[in-house]
Subunit: 159 residues, 2 copies
DNA sequence: GTTAGCGTACTCGGATACCGGTTGTCCGAGTGGCAAAGG
DNA sequence: CCTTTGCCACTCGGACAACCGGTATCCGAGTACGCTAAC
């Protein structure tokens, strides 16, 4: 999986703690974790294209959440950055070579192997779609109560 | 996911239909699907290292199933070829930069983000581990009854 | 006719190149804010 | 003092390079079979 997914999730959480109306430039979000700013910017652009974030150009600009944090799932973030296509892609080798004689039958049945992998991947997607960033926020605030304030203070000091 | 996983699963099914005691060289398995023989050989080697297949050197040699097909899961094949490590790897960026001051606390709590992704990945692995190659074989034999005989005939003719 | 020895052909196994994609960087278009000048 | 105007600094956005892992290939070690030749 793309490494940018991790950065994106953490950055979205920070944006949530800083308030949904406040635009934060990519350079600040990157500095908070010592990440390459230009590359994080690239990932955030993908989130904008997916409708997860909104962007404001110019001075005092930056990125902000495009919708409530409770309506953003991990699946949304993964799909935006890592792409929509599934991990196992069936190339239909069963119709190549000696097996099918290189000819696809008239009413092709779905590939059983692909179906088996699809079932597993659907379970993965379902779990990702079931967890919102709000869920993660709540868990963090319970296990590490000081974190949100520390984030706010850092971004206020380095405004 | 590695493309060799697809090749490996189909090849294991063919080995099962040809009989567990018959060793088939990689070149024959590859020719059946018009795959690059040397590269498929590499994947089969990984299955041997994982204990899924056994190999016989020399003439009349080749690969064979190392254990009953009902005891080989999709998870085994994926782990052998694609590796054991999980897709989302947490790099602990929460301890870098402004957040934790670059210092890891004494009793570090598990990263909530990583836990969330791990939960989804565990669901994926569970589904893969729940499906054996025997299950897939049975489904294929029901939806495409002629396939096993066609496989046996082709491999017998091109022995 | 039998048997020991040798050569050959075939297999796996690992070491070695090649290439597409993720990772990383850079510069241009656009915009808001500030300062200075004029009324 | 207030308004207008021009400049500047800062932002996103997409185009451009670099590195790495998957993809693909090749050659060497080892073994079983078959042929030959000697007994």
């Amino acid at each position: 999986m793309n490494e940018g997914v991790e950065w994106a999730v953490h950055s979205c959480l920070n944006l949530a703690w800083l308030g949904a109306d406040r635009a934060v430039p990519a350079s600040r979000l990157a500095a908070f974790y010592e990440l390459p700013a230009a590359y994080l910017n690239k990932q955030l652009q993908a989130l904008v294209r997916a409708g997860v974030l909104g962007s404001v150009p110019g001075p005092k600009g930056g990125f902000r959440l495009a919708r409530p944090i409770s309506e953003i799932t991990l699946m949304d973030v993964v799909a935006a950055i890592d792409g929509e296509d599934e991990a196992f892609r069936c190339t239909e080798i069963r119709y190549r070579g000696g097996s099918g004689g290189g000819r696809v039958p008239d009413n092709p049945k779905p590939c059983t192997v692909a179906t088996a992998f699809r079932k597993a991947e659907m379970a993965w997607r379902r779990e990702l779609a079931a967890q919102t960033l709000a869920d993660i926020m709540i868990t963090v605030e319970r296990t590490n109560p000081g974190a949100p304030d520390r984030v706010r203070r850092w971004f206020d000091d380095n405004r």
